[in-house]
Subunit: 441 residues, 2 copies
């Protein structure tokens, strides 16, 4: 009898790998605050003695320097993971997630923010990958087929009860129970809408911007995004270039990556307003809830979006309470993993605000698609005004890469979280010892 | 001619040490969220080739596990520090601080929060220690004798301008120019008022609480603090015990260390209200600006205090904008160092809110006293309703420990930041190789 059936199987190892891609070579990913990123992953691989061949894979994304700090923070969680019962951990993912984020000593480095929280998220996501593989389902479906009570059990409601209680969450999930199976079928047949950031990196020429914008429309995208915030005259010219390239019916979002103070954000965006920007993303500090609210009040009807640097559910809660955002941008690798993102999806549903995930980086598209598809199946039950960011970088390194066809993410069908990287890529881009880096250092 | 005179001296090494004290043995430092802390320091030591014998020492405080992550985050800053000109760095501490917090790759792990930001703070503070030693002054006086323009140059105003501009800061500092020298003399003669947390740890018996409370009053303290939040009946009994021990004229603050959601915080504190708590500290998540504001509205006249876990100036800004706090509790080792704390002192002054620093831990009293004394000399120019926390732990490990006499911090006179630990202590408590830990592991 395999150990998994007996229930005695344990998590035996947690490997943490430092993997970096030299993306700064080509200015892919360049924006007003990240001029030369080397997209990187602090990668987690869990193994068990269950004898079923399943492993748990996930990662925390960084932009280069500091990836070793992130890897070190993940390794600090080892004693919470290795030796634990596979059945118990996979059977109580909510309790497992809390055991990581509530460590009374490690939480001093947060609480629930920065490297230690991203570390918890990577480990939690790796266990979701393992649990979904054991269940033989992609995560979106594994989660989307849970009962409302099981989903609510995933959530740490600490510090949320003034905005979302377990009963609120149950109400939302029960309202969406009818039609779940039809929505699963819809996803499998038609996928989930995407938008693309590929045309709009700051480092690209106007010609490249125009060409990539036209290609995006031809490929079926209804929305593109441009990076802004380095130079206002450049931004006006680039916005005009993109608008001319795509016409009036395509949404153009812009993204300042936190570059501005509050009033400069308002002033800058008013100059771009004639070209009909759909949303302004990260106009200012991700910590500035009141600042986002002020920007939103001043710029209506331009929408305000943020989230990729929001550290946890408590800040998302306040962005919603304060009416500071039109769009909630969850990120698969910033907060404490799938459990906390489920809480954030339910908060957004409670406040009636659409979720349009941040993605790109390394594996963020692969992971976050599961969350939006779960949202469609079991939470908001709609894709109206919802799109997942798509960036066409680095997917070739994944075992089950995203497939974006006709401007839509095809629903993954392989079991797990889609975050597993190819062994050859893990070896080649290992930092600093892999061949790509050894040749440079 | 020594290198320092020629201006060619460089920072040659940055050592990072993992130092931990097994404080969990005696439940010193126990509270509702930190049941068994091992007070620890990720310790920084800078050396130069100036030939003047001066080094820069500072630390990031943690509560045990994760101290290696913090040390690793500090080490990630090495390339920003080693090799730099001593004269340039000490002559432009504002620019130096920005070079650490604005690293476009490392900031992904924040931005300006968690391990990477505390790392920047430790390194920035070590350079302040070095700069003040070179100037032959304690930091409070080194900073307090700068011109308003020099002080304003220390501050990163990014994301602050909707609440505090350079002109606002200059106005505040210029208003306090008259009387600086008298206030320096007052500090040297009478010190700065303190309050003590020593009686109130959760792990202590009622008898110990009562005895230590009486001793605190006899020692000259006008305020004590109790940890609360684990059990309401215990808290009522402990609050009553402490009130009976100290009488009606001594302020008793209480500290929940983030334990509650918003409404539970209000409900719990209403039950303690008959014993006249002076402030409630950290009633809920440190990220919950709107939550603190709601608690404050409901509990008036009980004051609301927070800050030891506030990651940066942007969150302090909002706590003030939202009217969420009566007391700003800066911490010497949480934010990006002295530079960011100068910004927070000026924000508090702009909003007319008193600053009562968090201290304790390892070296926090030693460091933060300089900030309050600077505030008195050059910013708020008053000690009214201002007290520095004092906890009587671990001072014996410091080369220039705080001296609290008659319930007041004596003004340090030795040059530097007072954060330098004794070599014997650094060796004995080194983790995991020092003799204290080698015997345990």
């Amino acid at each position: 009898m395999p150990a998994s059936v007996s229930g005695s199987a344990r998590i035996t190892t947690m490997d943490v790998l430092d993997v970096r891609f030299p993306t700064s070579d080509h200015l892919d990913g360049s924006d007003a605050m990240n001029p030369e990123p080397d997209y990187s992953a602090a990668y987690v691989r869990l193994r068990t003695d269950a004898g079923d061949g399943h492993e748990g894979h996930a990662l925390a994304f960084t932009t280069g320097r500091g990836n070793e700090v992130q890897a070190n923070a993940i390794a600090a969680l080892t004693s919470h993971v290795v030796g634990r019962s596979v059945a118990e951990v996979c059977g109580d993912l909510g309790g497992f997630a809390r055991s990581l984020t509530h460590d009374p000593q490690l939480r001093w480095l947060g609480p629930e923010k920065g490297a230690v929280h991203m570390a918890a998220g990577a480990v939690v996501n790796a266990v979701w990958d393992l649990a979904a593989k054991r269940a033989g389902k992609p995560v979106w479906r594994f989660l989307g087929e849970m009962s409302p009570e099981e989903i609510v059990a995933q959530i740490d409601f600490r510090w949320l009860s003034d905005a979302l209680t377990p009963d609120d969450a149950l109400d939302i999930l029960r309202r969406s129970l009818p039609g779940r199976q039809e929505r699963i079928t819809l996803l499998l047949e038609h996928g989930y809408p995407a938008y693309t950031t590929t045309p709009g990196w700051l480092g690209y020429s106007d010609e490249k911007l125009a060409r990539l914008s036209r290609e995006a429309v031809a490929a079926g995208f209804g929305q593109i995004k441009l990076k802004v915030g380095a130079d206002i005259e450049d931004d006006i010219r680039r916005m005009k270039t993109a608008r001319q390239a795509v016409g009036d019916d395509i949404r153009i979002a812009v993204d300042a990556n936190q570059r501005w103070d509050v009033q400069p954000a308002i002033d800058w965006m008013r100059r771009l307003a004639p070209y009909d920007p759909y949303w302004i993303e990260e106009p200012t500090s991700p910590d500035d809830i009141l600042g986002h609210a002020a920007v939103r009040r001043a710029l209506r009807p331009i929408k305000v979006a943020t989230g990729e640097h929001i550290p946890n559910r408590v800040v998302f809660k306040q962005l919603l309470q304060a009416g500071a955002v039109d769009i909630v941008q969850i990120d698969a690798a910033r907060v404490g993993g799938i459990n906390e993102n489920v809480a954030i999806l339910l908060l957004a549903a409670k406040f009636g605000v659409p979720v349009c995930p941040h993605a790109g980086g390394v594996g963020l598209c692969e992971m976050v698609q599961h969350l939006s598809m779960f949202d469609f199946v079991a939470v908001s039950a709609t894709t109206r005004d919802r799109v997942i960011e798509y960036v066409d970088h680095l997917h070739e390194h994944f075992a089950d890469p995203v497939r974006v066809v006709g401007g839509r993410y095809a629903a993954p069908t392989a079991p797990g979280l889609s975050a597993q990287m190819l062994p050859a890529s893990l070896a080649k881009y290992a930092y600093p010892g892999g061949p790509v880096w050894a040749a440079r250092v």
